[in-house]
Symmetry: none
Subunit: 201 residues, 4 copies
Amino acid sequence: MSRSTTPAAGAPDGAGPPRRQRSDAKRSAAALLDAAKTAFAQSGVDVPAKQITDLAGVGVGTLYRHYPRRSDLIVAVLQHEIDECVTAADELSSGAGPRAALVAWIGRFTEFVGTKQGLASALHSGDPAYEGLPDQLLEQLVPALQGLLDRAAAAGEARDDVSAREVLTAIALLSQPVPGGADGFSERMIAIFLDGLSVTG
Amino acid sequence: MSRSTTPAAGAPDGAGPPRRQRSDAKRSAAALLDAAKTAFAQSGVDVPAKQITDLAGVGVGTLYRHYPRRSDLIVAVLQHEIDECVTAADELSSGAGPRAALVAWIGRFTEFVGTKQGLASALHSGDPAYEGLPDQLLEQLVPALQGLLDRAAAAGEARDDVSAREVLTAIALLSQPVPGGADGFSERMIAIFLDGLSVTG
Amino acid sequence: MSRSTTPAAGAPDGAGPPRRQRSDAKRSAAALLDAAKTAFAQSGVDVPAKQITDLAGVGVGTLYRHYPRRSDLIVAVLQHEIDECVTAADELSSGAGPRAALVAWIGRFTEFVGTKQGLASALHSGDPAYEGLPDQLLEQLVPALQGLLDRAAAAGEARDDVSAREVLTAIALLSQPVPGGADGFSERMIAIFLDGLSVTG
Amino acid sequence: MSRSTTPAAGAPDGAGPPRRQRSDAKRSAAALLDAAKTAFAQSGVDVPAKQITDLAGVGVGTLYRHYPRRSDLIVAVLQHEIDECVTAADELSSGAGPRAALVAWIGRFTEFVGTKQGLASALHSGDPAYEGLPDQLLEQLVPALQGLLDRAAAAGEARDDVSAREVLTAIALLSQPVPGGADGFSERMIAIFLDGLSVTG
DNA sequence: TATGAATGAGCCTTCATTCAT
DNA sequence: CATGAATGAAGGCTCATTCAT
């Protein structure tokens, strides 16, 4: 009734691709997901929405259409990566030896967690939108690790009084990137932890 | 030479309101430090300044006088606790056995880190104000742990190819509170890590 | 001359999805009109377009095709009801006695206005799109009332120094629903007003 | 932690008064009240906050400090005027004759309502913030009118089966400014209504 | 020195409007 | 013709920071 918006915004960019090709909404959603992943990694979960949309090459409105709340975006990003991680476990479990497979997968997981810095803290922010989220995500990874862990335990190469879930959490913590951390810090600390995990005595 | 150096203990105040007269700026600074510690713990480092000043019972202006930048406050809070932690190490080192002392101090440290959640992420935020800060703080703790670690290594109870600094960092990570974490999660994971640390083979 | 003017009732449609084929644009326009009437009543004239289109079961684009500006929709809604009101006057004028017919029609009009709450304020919003609109709409009702009013005046049952237009406006105002209004408030106040109108002295 | 606001905004306006004189918060609140009154009258209750603050010569923040919610401002504006209206009643009641006083006060009230257009609709918006507000405001005016009404009734100049509250509401409705309204429209319609009110038969 | 009112930049979010399909 | 995804301007609101008192 009152909005007197200027008729059109005109072309925002002479150069870019021929834009707005009704590129099947999915394109936008995916681009946003990707942009968010990058933006979150660079600037944390509180990164301004504008930064994400610019990176994705879409308007803010599009972000809100696909991910009404910030948490929706965060969840989507996490879920997307978790999926990849689970897949990796399947592939690894049918390959190398018990210990090797365990180590390999943990390496993959470490990599994943390493780029998720801020995300974790968002999950614990108390925002009701994340209610049970960490748990839910973690549960998807538990089976992946459990299999590998069982094989190792069966081979006498791992203690059996620790749950896959706990190991997962511990590894996740040790995978956090640290400022003055020399290269391979995470890997070496995780190795020590795994050593402790092998102390079956 | 007879003028008392004490800054006018009996300032004239007949007129004005009974305002907090010359109430030693230090009082404010301390109150703010305390309030910040609490506020940070409750709401993270991004807690609104107002919340801190309200808690401290001072005006915002006072916060800015004592701690011009948010980082100044964060640093102060951390430094304050680090000091207490270092002191504890001194006391412990001259008490129990090598391993016991090590474990005890790490327990103390764990406790400290456990309540600092958000602070850590602030340090890694990339903000130039924290340039080298984590390092600097860590360095103060290194000597504290190194002594305990050396004693343990000398007694054959710890590998010697890991620096005190690395152990400190690893423990700090494992001390992070986790959401679904059962009681004693941190302690148990740290125990496993220490087990790995004892694997001198 | 043998070609049927009916626009291809049997359009080829073998391929595409069973889309609403040539579903008479009128259907959409009508559905929108109806939806708008409801939406306006519920949420005022500023109700988001989306809400109207959802209610009508059409896409936003369709709304803009039929009613480019919000005012077009508002005008259409009002016009639609005015028409019904005028029709009612015709029927009533040839029925009951002077006073009874007048009262009856005003009752009908009251009902109409009562559900138009927000619309009125839109008309007075200063938006050039409504320039002269209220006048135009009002003019259509004037004849309807004038006849009834004249009959009453002729019978000495109404003063004659007030125009049908003014009466119409006054009644419209008194018909506005009021919050704490007891049932029949409008009716009773209008009755008082009509009493005043009868004071021919 | 992240806000990198440019240090200062500099002087927004070379010409204006020497600004920011700590002019006793009340000054701001009053200026805002006044500006709001004007802005509401000109552009309705939904007028952008910026428009109000510009008019008041203060920053947006100041608006939110004094009136956190839009409704707070609306209520304040209304209350302010109600007060003046009530005061007027006191003065009038001890002056002219019964009917004259009644008419005079209603004139005053009409004036008040006439400039409140949009406000009324805000009160009926269903926003919980206005819960009971109209009632509350109305109740303050009821005693003012009741006295005048009683005097008139006692003098046989007004029917007694209508409450002051109802009269108040009816008058308020008739006082609404109408677009094509000739000068004195409200007054004349109200006069007719009052005539009806005098029909004691 | 302390206070807290004022400021305004910046971010979030909604929604009118366009336009590719 | 209809659809609904995309866009981006507009406005709400918060909160860091300054500065008059």
